[in-house]
């Protein structure tokens, strides 16, 4: 597999780019020569069997992991390892990430959890931030639980709060690690609707990693399947698939 050569000065149109990523953890092969690229407006679901390193692979895609891997992961056309820490943090301020276990901050209530990224990054006043968060809370129908701590929430509720927290910053890139895990039917439809709504916006990217076939069907994004440490991509990702 050879990567298509591009002029160094040519600005990459791909915001997320994985080139021949191979990762081993304790002699177990997690993935081998995984390459794909996502440009603005593209959304991808990767079907991945449970227990085979889905979350680790997602952390590799986001550049969050310290696990050693071969190949390169590029964000906005540059290797994530080459970014200075403060620059990658600024780039992440426009990235949403929904974790498998929701990962809500345990000593903050729901309101503060949703307000957290805005309070840190935004130049807005506290009153404006509170207004935005209240709007999001109304939109996601979580008014009744806004003062509760994460430990008091059900799995579905904490997942909805995690999605709300990821989308409150109006991200360009949205990473979803098992977004449907533990959701009841009603919440499932609710989350899918909001994710579809996000995908309809211009200039956004979604990368979903899931084991759920029903989620991939409901979202209707192109589906890639991970099988025997290899990723088989759908046809219209052919530009990368050929490589």
């Amino acid at each position: 597999m050879k990567i298509k050569k591009r002029n160094k000065d040519e600005k990459s149109k791909y915001l997320i780019e994985l080139n021949n990523v191979t990762c081993r953890i304790d002699n177990n092969l997690l993935c081998e020569n995984v390459s794909f690229a996502l440009e603005l407006g593209s959304h991808l679901t990767i079907l991945w069997k449970d227990g085979l390193g889905k979350s680790t692979f997602m952390e590799i895609c986001t550049g969050l992991t310290n696990v050693k891997y071969q190949g390169t992961v590029k964000h906005y056309g540059k290797n994530v390892k080459q970014y200075a820490n403060d620059i990658i943090m600024k780039l992440r301020s426009k990235t949403g990430y929904v974790f498998q276990n929701s990962a809500l901050i345990s000593n903050h209530n729901v309101f503060d959890n949703i307000a957290l990224p805005l309070r840190y990054h935004s130049q807005k006043t506290n009153r404006e931030i509170d207004h935005i968060v209240n709007e999001i809370i109304t939109r996601y129908e979580i008014q009744e639980i806004q003062n509760l701590l994460p430990e008091m929430l059900t799995t579905s509720q904490s997942k909805i709060v995690a999605v709300a927290r990821a989308l409150v910053v109006k991200p360009i890139i949205l990473f979803l690690d098992e977004p449907s895990l533990g959701l009841d039917h009603e919440s499932f439809d609710f989350v899918v609707d909001h994710l579809k709504e996000f995908a309809q916006q211009k200039n956004t990217i979604t990368l979903v990693l899931t084991k759920s076939l029903s989620l991939s069907k409901a979202l209707q994004y192109p589906v890639a399947v991970f099988f025997k440490q290899k990723l088989s991509l759908p046809n219209h990702f052919g530009d990368r698939k050929k490589q």
């Binding site: 301020s93 901050i105 840190y120 990054h121």
Partner: protein, 278 residues
């Protein structure tokens, strides 16, 4: 059978880990200072959670420990005063009551007891809290949102801990003097106002700076060491271990700092000892 090379290998590993930990703690401390200076910049408009986080830390470390520190200060002050008033005149040094009280309680016992209580109560809790945050991927979630854990967790803790330590140390000194004398008056019926005057008259501005310095160092050591060990957790089994480790390391670092400071500034800190050492 234990082989010699295994002993040397283990000892070597321990030394390498110790060296790495110390270097990483210094990095964490410097990152925290940089983060603090950034937040204090009047043109910086990010990190609006700073005040909220600091006040939370002050509430937990300072305000909630007031009763505990107060009782301990009362007991320490009372015991030292009763013993001093009963025994010092026997040695003909009764008039040095104020100075002894100042050196023993205000300068030494106060800061060390406050340090131990805060470390045991708040430092270990902080380590366990950050360790659990790491295990539950909350720290990763912060990083995924572009929030530096140092900015959001370590630096407010550092500020809150230092401010709390300053308040608690002065609080301890005042309670130990005023309350201790009151306890002594109840038990052995001393002339309260005279002894109170003696105790306060012996305290100078230098002592205030001395307590201030000790409080700042204690606060820095507790917050940085606790955060360092909390953030270094890799799995749930390690949480209980790092809690103990952070407590021990905190104490050790404080002792090392104290020995270094005493060795370097002995004559300045203890002008009374000049008579003995020339």
């Amino acid at each position: 059978m234990i082989r010699f090379y295994e002993i040397t290998e283990n000892a070597g590993n321990v030394m390498i880990n110790l060296y790495r930990n110390v270097i990483h703690m210094i990095y964490l401390w410097s990152d925290t200072i940089v983060s603090l200076l950034t937040v204090l910049n009047p043109f910086y408009k990010g990190n609006k959670s700073f005040r909220r986080q600091v006040s939370f830390q002050i509430l937990f470390t300072g305000v909630e420990a007031f009763w505990l520190i107060g009782v301990i200060a009362l007991l320490c002050g009372g015991t030292v005063i009763i013993q001093a008033i009963n025994n010092m005149p026997n040695f003909g040094v009764g008039e040095y009551f104020g100075k002894l009280f100042k050196i023993f309680v205000v300068r030494e016992i106060g800061p060390i007891v406050t340090f131990l209580l805060v470390m045991g109560r708040s430092g270990t809790a902080l380590t366990a809290y950050l360790g659990n945050m790491r295990v539950n991927k909350e720290i990763t979630a912060l990083e995924a949102m572009g929030i530096q854990p140092v900015d959001y967790l370590v630096m407010p803790t550092f500020v809150g801990m230092v401010l709390s330590m300053i308040c608690l140390n002065f609080y301890f000194a005042i309670i130990a003097i005023v309350g201790g004398l009151a306890v002594a008056e109840i038990i052995i019926h001393i002339p309260y106002m005279i002894y109170l005057q003696k105790a306060f008259a012996s305290i100078s501005l230098f002592d205030v700076y001395f307590i201030l310095g000790k409080s700042v160092i204690s606060g820095m050591v507790i917050s940085i060491v606790s955060c360092f060990f909390g953030l270094s957790v890799k799995n749930i089994r390690e949480v209980s271990m790092v809690v103990i480790k952070s407590f021990v390391v905190c104490g050790a670092i404080r002792v090392v700092i104290k020995v270094i400071v005493i060795a370097a500034f002995f004559r300045v800190l203890f002008p009374e000892a000049r008579a003995f050492f020339g």
